[in-house]
Amino acid sequence: MNNNFLLLLPEFIVTGLAFVVLGLDLFLPERRKWVLPIVAVVGLVVALVVSLRYLWGVSDSLYDGVIRVDGYALFFKAFFIALGGVVVLVSVDFVRRNLEHPGEYYGILLFTVVAMMLLAASGELLTAYISLELLSFGLYVLVAYDRYNAKSNEGATKYILLGAFSSALLLFGISQVYGLLGTTRFDEISSALSSADALSPGLILGIALIIAGLGFKVAAVPFHMWAPDAYEGAPIPITAHLAVGSKAAAFALVLRLFAEAFMPIVEQWQILLIGLAVITMLLGNLVALAQRNLKRLLAYSSVGQVGYLLMGVAALAATGSGGIMLHLVAYAVTNMAAFLCLAAIYNITGRDDIAGMAGVARRAPLVGLVFAVSLFSLAGLPIFVGFTSKFYLFNAAAAQGLLWVAGIAIFSSLISLYYYLQVVRQLYIEPAEDAAPIPVPRLTLGVLGALFAGMVGLGVYPAPLMEAVQYASDALF
């Protein structure tokens, strides 16, 4: 076994960066802590450059196939590093105003980025499990980080308890699969499954338990109970990280798992995923109608988005992973923009309920504009990236013959438009309680501008993204 450890260079860099940040924090006096996010972002940029420079076109594996280095992993690696950078940038102002112990905050954040990168690269069930736990543990801590806020504690408690429960389900499922197939590697599972003449019930149970465990992690509907509370309680940048990063990472695993390991028995799990997808998108969007808190609303809307993504996974056999990955990127850019706007507003007004958004468009025109655009994009209106990706996703489902599911998806998109418009109405039409302009730091404006450009640019001209997704998707099949 010859391991070329250079293939793990991005992971090494980000891990080292996490240690550097934790270590620097020890020696920096309180007033110099602003250095930490800069170090983190610079390090992430280096990691991004390195991974694109050295891993492009590489298709290899480490540790006997336990960790895979291919186009798919590279795509998600780059995606997660970029995402981590954005979360750090989003955090700068928020952490300075609202949280203590910035060093540990950024350090743990970087560890979650490593975990997400490894999750996309894992080619084996236990590796995936360890990476998932690494991610979850980091998020448990980060959700509770606003420690003097009772809601943060409550959300974190629920998240930890249900997270531990879901890990147990996942592990039990993995042990069933290992016990009956004798392997945990995806490719070997696949060959064992295709050579087996009849599926043993224990195996079906195992796969169902794995789906349930992962369902918890992505907050699909019967397993979504933790999401609204954790989203509401967490510091806003972490809510964004939770909604975007952890979800994308879990889907990165789900895609590889189903495409590489469980593909031979696609008929067995497809119907299960379709069922999950349908109730997830319907329930997520319907419950979102009743929300008064914007973080909870975005939480339920992201539950709805998980429904669309699950539909894409169900259609994996025929159309590949392209649509899902496209939607993940679109959803990430859009949601990140929405949460950054919310954070910018919350930092000044201390409000995160829908009524608190009244008149924001006049108090901070640019924030209002980006917020509105991001909500439209989430709803899937044309010229924004949300439309493009939803179009491809629904198209893929229809091509697979799941026309009725696509119909339900479009219907629930319409529902979502209603509550997104409610927010936009507050932003633009309702009069402000306090007309004083909201000062927005330049850094926030810069990030907002970039995300805005991303939402519109990728919506109008998605070709480069499509190519990247195609390149990544090719590695999977």
Partner: protein, 209 residues
């Protein structure tokens, strides 16, 4: 062989029985003790399978450290457990229904076909024969090569858990006095000793503590 069979059943029954008692006993300290008993019996089962390394690690880590912490916490807790259990029965109907559904599903799944219990033949990396390699070495051989990432990853998880636990509970107390050895060492007679002339018989010149 007969001795081994008997031992297996003794240990297996012990494990399950102790496991049941963990949730059944009324006193949480007794629960922890039954948990320890369950660990012990499972360690015995490990030894019977020839996995003596795992057995000892189970005892060192779980019995020697984790369960002691449990006991430590449970002994310190000031919770009226009878009160905590007061509302227990009102959840029985819904809990019972869910339990029965799950049980029915499991029975259906397992009844619909035989479970293969023989060791699968397509094992990727078979374990080395126990009489050639001690299982400590066998574990070390894969743990630090093929599964090095799992080992490191588990380490990172523990690191995060530790950092998180400290960061979420740490607060700098300003109302305690700490011993500062450097200051004590640096103290000289001028700062420490005060000479006072006291008039014989006079009161009030010496402050008592």
């Amino acid at each position: 062989m007969i001795i081994q069979t008997i031992m297996f059943y003794v240990l297996a029954v012990g494990t399950v029985g102790a496991g049941v008692m963990v949730i059944a006993s009324r006193n949480p300290v007794h629960s922890v003790l039954f948990l320890i008993l369950a660990f012990f019996n499972s360690a015995g089962l490990f030894v019977m399978m020839g996995a003596e390394f795992l057995a000892m690690i189970l005892i060192i880590v779980y019995v020697g450290a984790v369960a002691v912490l449990f006991l430590f916490v449970v002994m310190m807790l000031d919770i009226n457990f009878a009160e905590l259990r007061a509302g227990f029965l009102q959840y029985l109907p819904i809990g019972g229904v869910i339990g029965i559904i799950l049980l029915a599903e499991l029975v259906m799944v397992f009844a619909s076909g035989a479970i293969e219990i023989e060791v699968p033949t397509n094992v990727a990396s078979p374990t080395p024969p126990p009489d050639e390699v001690t299982n400590t070495q066998a574990l070390g051989d894969v743990l630090y090569t093929r599964y090095a990432y799992l080992f490191q990853g588990a380490g990172f998880i523990l690191l995060i858990a530790m950092v998180g636990a400290i960061v979420l509970t740490h607060r700098r107390r300003t109302d305690v006095r700490r011993q500062r050895i450097a200051d004590q060492v640096a103290r000289d007679p001028k700062a420490a000793v005060r000479l006072t002339d006291i008039e014989p018989g006079a009161e009030g010149t010496w402050k008592s503590d």
